[in-house]
Amino acid sequence: MSEQTPGPDSPAESGGPTVPEGPAVPEGPAVPEGPEPEAALTEIAAASPDSPVQPEGPPGEDGWAPGRARLILNAVMEGNSFIVTVLALVAALVVGGLINAFSNTTVLHAWGNFFSAPGHAISLAWDTAVGAYVELFEGSIFNPHTVSALFQQASISAAIHDGYLSAVFNPLSETAVQATPLILAGLAVALPYQAGLFNIGGQSQFIGGAIVATYLGYGVNLPPVIHVIVCVLGSFAGGAAIGWLVGELKARTGAHEVIVTIMLNYIMAYFLSYLLSFHYLMQAPGTVNPITAAIAGNAHLPLLFGSHLRINAGFLIALACAAGVWWLLERTTVGFEFRSVGKNPSAARVAGMNVERNWVLVMLIAGGLAGLAASTVIQGTDFTLNDQSFGTYGIDAITVALLGRGRPVGVVWAGLLFGALHAGAPLMQAATGTPVDMVQVLEAVVVLMIAAPPLIRALFRLRGAGGGLQVLARGWGA
């Protein structure tokens, strides 16, 4: 077709990720039918990407002009990628609730007696599903019990001193703590994605950063402020070195970054085990466990709100990095080159850009970001490095970047959402017996839904138009 008329879906791609649909957010989840637990709804509203837009137009009774309803309807019907994201979350919560309700032995037993007491089985299933989400919410956002405990204290000063006030904010603090490395590692995937590279090597770069940060943390003696900064910069350098290696291999030999990063994940994991196996390397003296000595107090990232809350400067680093990545991509010649190379490498080359050098540079920065993620874990919460410290950050990062649609702002929101899920999981398990793995099910369903926008559209009968999302999914197929 020679005459490419502007198709109906082209504007969706150019649209900003969050702003235009702002008002639609709180209502988004309410549109699809089905038994939606109230708590779950509240949680979406609170944890979903756009909650701060809410104040601009409260979703209450007075905000319902007909024109606005129309706007919301259009936004939903056009099924642009933001709505798809929100609906994916809704679908995940429903699926999670169903799995939960039908895997609980008590509930299953009740279903067995369905014909003698049908109401019992249904209400039990409902209670189980909702109960888990309520606990998830209380563990990650706000727990009412902490407030009542606060008011039972003799005086305000006692309440503050004994940490009762902190307890109120503890869930949010935990969410931030959990979100911090996810945001940084997510950026390490999102940034190369913009340059057309798929970084699966978050894990290896994380380990690279962790090794350097930990060694500098216990191995050298430096004055207070300087020690932290040296360790943070060291973690960036450690991760960047691994990222650089990937970029350099691709630029020089054409080795595909997906293969290289996967292989490096194994190499770095075993390298870490090796380092932690010998006392003359990094293993802590006097132990047989694969763990390093604790880093010096000077190297700890400073806490932000006192000793009762774990939230620390790492969270600020993550936010600053997100802002930095956004600035780099949108406001600098470096980012212009990254995006050009990502969208059309041959045109970028003709325009005088050095495609290979961009690959190296973007992987170097990405590796550094993943290294910083390690810094926030080692210097922020764990203070030692063991052979499992890297956890699943490398894989979670891909999920976060995917949910954040490869954009820095999206990554922050996605990181916060997953951080909240991780933070709430332990309480959920303790209070309702729902295994923490449920959180992984939720994440998996979200990603499944995000990766399959047509499925979402079919599920919710949205008209065509995929927007940036489809592009994202397609680009990563390579």
């Binding site: 077709m1 020679s2 005459e3 150019s14 600098t332 059309n344 003709v350 850009m353």
Partner: protein, 523 residues
């Protein structure tokens, strides 16, 4: 079957792509749709083929109103479409491609390959579409791939065949073949809707010509209408097909290429020790059948391919091993042959594309900071100056028509200081109005003292622009000629005829010229 479109209107937002279009296609006739890029030809055909739903109007088949919700409906009603870009599976055989979607099975449930092959052979014979049913599509030249598309439509019992810009990918010889096939089809009662913007072709093949402009029908003419009349209808004013230009006033040698040799990764030599000079204020036109090293020559001049031997100097600076960026800074402006692939980033805005090779130069950047304001105002300036038809400079370039995309590239390349302009196929796929615009700009460059190198597969273009013509054949320059040289002599040089010897056998030469580009054009 009698096909009639009545008052078809299709809007995209505020853009009216089709405005109350009436069209009647009689059985066994060739109806040509002539129009500039962006005139709404393809949109109209997509409506007819069920890919788009009209906002107003109706489609009548033998007087019966029909509604096509998808191409499936259209195919069932006997409408077949051959898209400009073929919809074939490269790794499948011809027979497999033809049967795809309507596979015949034996009672056992297995594919009946034998019957499919037989069908393909029979159709090939009936319409003179020689195709080997067992050949892999990826190994076939473009012209044959197009036949496969036509067979696909015929197997589905198409009685109306839509050909969307069918000749844009074909060599002249392949075009002749296509015309023969079209005549055979219409003799058998099939109607053909032939979409094109090439006047000569339309005149050669059509029984009726409907001209579209800006989404509306502006006239219907018999093929006997003159070229000038059709062109005037198409662009809405009288177009001069030849650019008026003064005689060149060549100055200093600016671009000096000596013994340049370029090979690809496999070691195949594409440019074989060629030498030429381009002076300031002159246009050197490189003529030749495509695939004779012109593409590689341009890429080597831009630094996209390494020079295996030889030297390239620009105004005294040795650029033989310079990077593309260094060449740009040295004053080389480059209009690539494939604008979609090499010239533009279709997901970027018009504004970003207009600074694609200057984004890191002041005033668009200071340090590593992009100056978005400067980029935007520069884009606004160039959009006006080069008459780019776009709703705003923020529009994605990929949504513009081909002519406007080319204007974006020209605006970028000509809008900056440069000493040499290398333009490869600068008007490929453009409509008459855009061609004139581009040609005028190129001559303007020459008059400002730029050394211009034009590579074109169209002799008309070479004649219209060049002050001197170089002919390339198999990586070598077979001769330099003034623009007054007769086309026959250029043809002889293009077919590898020696520069000095008198014409020994022109016929054998044309044969080579016609068959060799088939493989090159497929890439």
């Amino acid at each position: 079957m009698e096909l009639e479109l009545k008052g078809i209107t299709k809007r995209f937002g505020s853009l009216v792509a089709n405005d109350r279009i009436d069209l009647a296609v009689a059985p066994g006739r060739v109806h040509a749709l002539l129009g500039e890029n962006g005139a709404g030809k393809t949109t109209l055909m997509n409506v007819l083929y069920g890919l788009l739903q009209p906002d107003e109007g109706e489609i009548l088949l033998d007087g019966q109103a029909v509604r096509f919700h998808s191409p499936k409906d259209a195919i069932a009603a006997g409408i077949g479409m051959v898209h400009q870009h073929f919809m074939l599976v490269p790794v499948f055989t011809v027979a497999e491609n033809v049967t795809l979607g309507i596979e015949e099975t034996r009672p056992s449930g297995l594919l009946d390959r034998r019957k499919t092959r037989k069908d393909v052979r029979e159709l090939s014979r009936r319409y003179g579409l020689e195709v080997d049913p067992d050949a892999l599509v990826e190994n076939l030249p473009v012209g044959i791939q197009q036949r496969v598309e036509i067979i696909k439509a015929l197997v589905r019992q198409a009685t109306v065949l839509i050909l969307d810009e069918p000749t844009s990918v074909l060599t002249p010889a392949e075009t002749e073949d296509l015309f023969r096939i079209i005549r055979q089809l219409t003799d058998g009662g099939t109607s053909v809707v032939f979409i094109s913007h090439k006047l000569k072709e339309v005149q050669a093949i059509a029984d009726t010509i409907t001209v579209l402009r800006r989404g509306a029908v502006v006239g219907q003419r018999p093929p006997s209408a003159t070229e000038d009349e059709l062109a005037a209808l198409m662009v809405g004013r009288n177009v001069q097909l030849r650019v008026s230009k003064e005689a060149a006033k060549p100055g200093e040698v600016v671009l000096d290429v000596s013994d340049l040799t370029v090979a690809d990764e496999t070691g195949r030599v594409w440019v074989d020790g060629i030498s030429f000079q381009v002076r300031a204020g002159e246009i050197l036109g490189v003529a030749g059948v495509q695939g004779n090293g012109q593409t590689e020559l341009c890429e080597a001049l831009m630094g996209l391919r390494p020079a295996a031997a030889g030297q390239v100097t620009l105004a005294g600076h040795d650029l033989t091993h310079a990077t593309p960026a260094q060449r740009l800074r040295a004053g080389l402006a480059y209009v690539p042959e494939d604008r979609q692939e090499d010239g533009l980033i279709s997901d970027f805005s018009v504004a970003d594309n207009m600074v694609l090779d200057q984004y890191n130069q002041p005033p668009f950047a200071s340090g590593i900071n992009l100056n978005l304001g400067a980029i935007a105002s520069r884009a606004a300036e160039l959009v006006t100056e080069f008459d780019v038809r776009t709703t705003s400079a923020g529009t994605l370039v990929g949504t513009l028509s081909g002519g406007n995309q080319q204007k974006v590239i020209l605006a970028r390349e000509l809008g900056q200081d440069h000493k040499v302009l290398v333009a490869s196929q600068p008007t490929r796929g453009l409509d008459v109005g855009s061609i004139e615009f581009v040609h005028r700009r190129i001559v303007e460059q020459r008059d400002h003292g730029v050394a211009v190198l034009i590579v074109s597969a169209e002799l008309d273009e070479i004649y219209a622009l060049a002050d001197r013509i170089a002919v390339m054949y198999e990586g070598k320059i077979t001769g330099f000629r003034p623009p007054t040289v007769p086309a026959e002599e250029l043809g002889r040089l293009m077919a590898g005829g020696s520069d000095v010897a008198p014409d020994p056998a022109p016929d054998s030469g044309t044969g080579t010229a016609a068959s060799s580009p088939a493989s090159g054009a497929g890439t």
